[in-house]
């Protein structure tokens, strides 16, 4: 009897790692990803701490491996609709949304999206630039094929256009494609759906969306990334001038009674990283990191922070910011309590970066319902305290940020761990 495959929900670094481990073990995998390409949040980062490796550089080989792996079947632009059965024997319905592009034909030449007239905010670049209705989710995305967004495509909304079809040299565009439901039977399921960044608009005292020079950390990552909308130039949105003084405000939405009570684990480190990257671009740059408690417990993390302070012109100031205001040049005035003198002080900066909370993905409740697994009070997937990769339902395992906010090395270790748990399940079943 042939071994059943494993289903992995989520194509970020966790899902990818689990898929690769299982695939390398010789076990077949179905990797389902809701976006048109795999890669997840890690693809959106510029560099990663504490090595300051270029994120996409270390991720891309894994994306490629996944794509070409004989044991891994990718289902991108797909969602899980139904799960029945039990450990060892789950029947899953995957809905594959039509991309309206033939994946085998598309050569990613870009002729179509050069001609597409529609412009809508791009999700990968978090609205900092526009994309077309036919688009590649991101440059190094896998699978490297275009997708048509039928909510904005003029053909689907108004019956006109179809310009892309007329320019495609491979006749790869197929407006007759339909959404497809695929039913698979799997041995076990790994949930690796990751996180969303918290939207700090409601924290009005920080001025997000009101002051042009206040950005969130994910926006900052896209701004400083070479493949991002500004080619890696850190420019103020108000006047296009380079930022010379940056304030990083920690715990925005985290450790916050009104929003999320928990700590998002990684922000102290990523703020330091972001300050370092800015300094690498401009040696005159000064950064302030306003924090509550500095959390740098991982391997090499403490040293990283010290380097930041000593070599990258970062001042760590232990003070939670009450509010941010603007002066007439749209510089930001940060008012804080100086921890040394306990006196109220002000500093004016060019750019403020809000380290927003890592929150469970939107749609997680529906997925939990479909999987029939429990979420904790914060809507992260609940795991068995004695077996921290097992969800509340046997045969379903959880790894990465959908368990709780964590960093990349942890996510990778958890992902390998979840792969192991899934593999154990297979063996159990075969034996009995």
């Amino acid at each position: 009897m042939e071994e059943k495959p494993v289903l992995i929900i989520g194509g970020g670094i966790s899902g990818i790692q689990a898929a690769l481990d299982l695939g390398d073990m010789g076990i077949r995998v179905h990797l389902v990803e809701e976006k048109p390409c795999i890669g997840g949040r890690m693809a959106q980062l510029d560099k990663t701490f504490p090595t300051n490796d270029c994120s996409i550089c270390i991720l891309a080989p894994k994306l490629s491996d996944c794509f070409r792996h004989p044991n891994i079947t990718l289902h991108t632009y797909s969602e899980i609709k139904k799960v029945n059965g039990q450990k060892g024997d789950f029947t899953v319905k995957i809905r594959k949304y039509a991309k309206y592009v033939k994946e085998d034909e598309c050569i990613n030449c870009g002729e179509c999206n050069a001609k597409c007239p529609v412009k809508v905010p791009d999700e990968f670049d978090v609205g900092l630039r526009n994309r077309e209705a036919i688009y590649l989710y991101y440059l190094q995305g896998v699978p490297p094929v275009m997708t048509i967004d039928r909510e904005h495509c003029l053909f689907f909304t108004r019956g006109v256009c179809r310009i892309c079809e007329k320019f495609c040299p491979k006749e790869a565009i197929d407006f007759d494609q339909k959404d497809e439901d695929v039913i698979i039977n799997v041995n076990s399921i790994i949930v690796a759906t990751g996180f969303d960044p918290f939207d700090p608009t409601a924290i009005t005292q920080y001025g997000y969306k009101r002051y042009r020079n206040v950005v969130t950390s994910i926006e900052y990552e896209r701004l400083i990334c070479a493949s991002g909308p500004t080619g890696g130039h850190l420019e103020r949105q108000s006047d296009g001038k380079p930022a010379k003084k940056i304030a990083f405000i920690q715990c925005v939405g985290s450790r916050d009674v009104k929003n999320n009570r928990y700590c998002s684990s990684v922000c102290c480190m990523h703020a330091t990283k972001e300050a370092m990257l800015a300094f690498e671009h401009d040696s005159e740059l000064k950064s302030y990191i306003f924090y509550m408690d500095l959390r740098a417990a991982g391997k090499g993390f403490q040293k990283y922070l010290e380097r930041g302070e000593q070599e990258y012109n970062i001042s760590y100031i232990r003070s939670r910011i009450a509010n941010i205001t603007e002066d007439q040049n749209e510089n930001l005035v940060i008012q804080y309590d100086d921890p040394e003198t306990s006196k109220n002080k002000k500093v004016t900066v060019d750019l403020a970066v809000l380290a927003t909370s890592l929150i469970p993905r939107s749609g997680v409740e529906e997925l939990a319902r479909i999987l029939n697994v429990e979420l904790d009070d914060y809507k992260f997937f609940k795991t068995d305290p004695l077996n921290p990769l097992d969800s509340s339902r046997p045969g379903i395992y959880v790894c990465g940020c959908c368990r709780g906010p964590t960093d990349i090395p942890e996510s990778v270790a958890q992902a390998s761990g979840a792969a192991e748990r899934a593999a154990e399940t297979l063996f159990e079943v075969v034996i009995t």
Partner: protein, 557 residues
């Protein structure tokens, strides 16, 4: 096809290279080099699009050497080699030229000079590529047995998991019983279960599984061999035995630092957090006024790291004490409260609500423990406080086991400056070693809490099971070849090899050097040191190196 046809692909790497070098100029230049039949520039050569371009060119232009001038072979060489393989070209006919880390990244301010240097590098790369020869990867059989060193929560979890997968496991534990640090712990958070119950449960699973053989009171004396074929010499009491294994997992845990020189530590009124756990377990904590000092001996010059688990442990124990005895007065002196994530932050909240006092101190003004009371400067209050105490608990960091370096040497794996085992890649390979077939998990890797130890253990098992599941591994054939005519059997190579990969053996023609391909890492020490020049390093021949030098100096004849 005897004609050498080189294809050169120059990558922009986004703006990493393209922003600092004149890539079109490099492409033009490459085409002018001898033997180059095709050139192309790519935005991201490593993307699927880039890889297809390479494969297409191999087939359509009949290229038989590929040079990619882009980032680093450390991350991308396997990728490009696979692409060549998929197009039917021997993967060792691929040449990587690093014009990013070794050029654009370090010469960001001088485009002209940097471009010229890149031209030199490409010229050298092409000259080398011409002389490359096809090589076949080596297949090495893997023994489907594992040795797990360390019988704590990590080792036990790992062993059980691999045994459940159907592999045989030897679980080696130095002390007399399994359980590791858990044996000394009281209650765990957030499960609230007794640590000893967890140990019992795990031992129960081990006993049920016939595939696990436990060796307590055992130590590793030596490790020989290579991935798939390790021989581990183990001493149990006084008996020495060899065990064969395909993979090894290091789960030796860590010690808790005993601060004999700090805070008037005396083991009675001033104790460590671990000693507090033991005391709580025995029900012996009667003290009312308890002060805990965080970062005691951690985040200092000697140990400049945060030990991660101390803040949650202190909070847990403080809460346990407070819950049992509401009259107790508890103080936690901290520099930063490190309670990341959901559960630990909750714990911190609970502790504050329970009335435990928190005092922030700075490392410049450390608390002073005197006979009856403790003096501490409260940073937030801006005042010095004098606190009488019954018990001072020092949250000291985890430190690497005193014998970690020794074991590391036997395994031929590295440790970091603190003695913790150093993994292959901090981000994406946290439980692998660079040495194939050996893995690490738990506190041996870095201070971890129980949850983390468990999932790292599963992670290590997953990684370890891959070669065992497949049954073999392939290694790079970048090994030395011994010319037995020239070899005099002097033994210098064997003496100098750091991996014990070349040995003098009795052969037909006398005593000759014999290469153990699977252990060889291709470092080239033997080849460089051979006085008879009897050793040729495959893929890095003398001819190739000289060709590169000549190319650099632009000597054409």
């Amino acid at each position: 096809m005897s004609e050498v046809r080189v294809g050169v692909f120059v990558c922009h790497c986004g703006t990493n290279i393209g922003g600092f070098l004149d890539v079109p100029e490099l492409v033009k230049y490459a085409l002018s080099l001898p033997n180059v039949a095709f050139t192309q520039e790519n935005k991201y050569t490593c993307s699927e699009t880039g890889l297809s371009e390479i494969k297409k060119a191999i087939l359509e232009i009949q290229l038989n050497r590929i040079v990619v001038a882009s980032c680093t072979p450390r991350t991308h060489e396997p990728l490009f080699r696979s692409a060549c393989k998929e197009a039917g070209l021997n993967p060792f006919l691929f040449q990587f030229v690093n014009i990013r880390d070794q050029c654009s990244w370090v010469h960001m301010h001088d485009k002209e000079a940097a471009t010229k240097k890149a031209k030199d590098l490409i010229r050298m790369g092409v000259a080398n590529a011409v002389l490359l020869e096809p090589l076949e990867e080596l297949k090495i059989d893997v023994n489907p047995k594992a040795v797990v060193i360390g019988g704590g929560i990590s080792g036990m979890t790992s062993a059980i998991s691999l045994a459940n997968r159907g592999f045989e496991v030897r679980l080696i534990e130095k002390s007399e019983k399994l359980g590791g640090t858990l044996n000394n712990l009281y209650k765990l958070y957030p499960t609230q279960i007794d640590a000893s119950n967890l140990v019992t449960a795990k031992i129960g699973e081990i006993e049920k599984n016939s595939r696990i053989k436990v060796l307590t009171s055992s130590q590793v004396l030596d490790v020989d061999g290579f991935v798939g074929n390790y021989t581990v010499k183990i001493k149990q009491n006084n008996k020495v035995q060899n065990y064969d294994a395909g993979v090894i997992i290091v789960a030796t845990g860590a010690d808790v630092y005993k601060p004999s020189d700090l805070y008037s530590y005396d083991g009675e009124r001033v104790i460590t957090q671990l000693e507090l756990e033991k005391a709580l377990k025995r029900g012996e904590v009667k003290a009312q006024r308890i002060i805990m000092i965080q970062c005691a001996g951690a985040r200092t010059k000697e140990r400049p790291y945060c030990s991660k688990v101390c803040c949650p442990t202190a909070l847990k124990n403080a809460l346990l004490i407070k819950e049992k005895n509401d009259d107790s007065q508890l103080y936690i002196l901290y520099r930063d409260m490190v309670t990341p994530g959901t559960e630990f932050e909750d714990l911190y909240g609970k502790a504050r609500e329970a009335g435990i006092n928190f005092i922030k101190y700075s490392p410049e003004k450390e608390p002073i423990v005197e006979n009856e009371s403790l003096k501490v400067y409260d940073e937030l209050l801006g005042e010095e406080l004098t606190l009488p105490y019954d018990l001072v608990v020092l949250s000291t960091p985890m430190v690497a086991r005193s014998d970690s370096k020794e074991l590391a040497q036997k395994l031929k794996v590295p440790v970091d400056e603190h003695g913790f085992y150093l993994e292959a890649h901090v981000k994406l390979r946290p439980v692998d070693f660079a040495t194939d077939g050996i893995f690490v998990c738990g506190c041996a890797h870095w201070p971890s809490n129980v949850d983390e130890s468990i999932f790292q253990a599963y992670g290590a098992s997953s990684r370890a099971s891959i070669p065992m599941s497949v049954g073999y591994v392939t290694t790079e054939p970048l090994i030395p070849v011994v010319d037995e005519e020239k070899c005099t059997g002097c033994g210098l190579c064997e003496m100098n090899c750091p991996f014990k990969a070349i040995k003098i053996e009795k052969k037909e023609k006398g005593r000759k050097a014999n290469v153990i391909a699977a252990s060889c890492k291709g470092c080239g020490t033997c080849g460089a040191g051979c006085p008879q020049k009897a050793i040729t390093m495959k893929h890095f021949t003398d001819d190739q190196i000289i060709a590169q030098v000549r190319a650099l100096a632009e000597v054409t004849s």
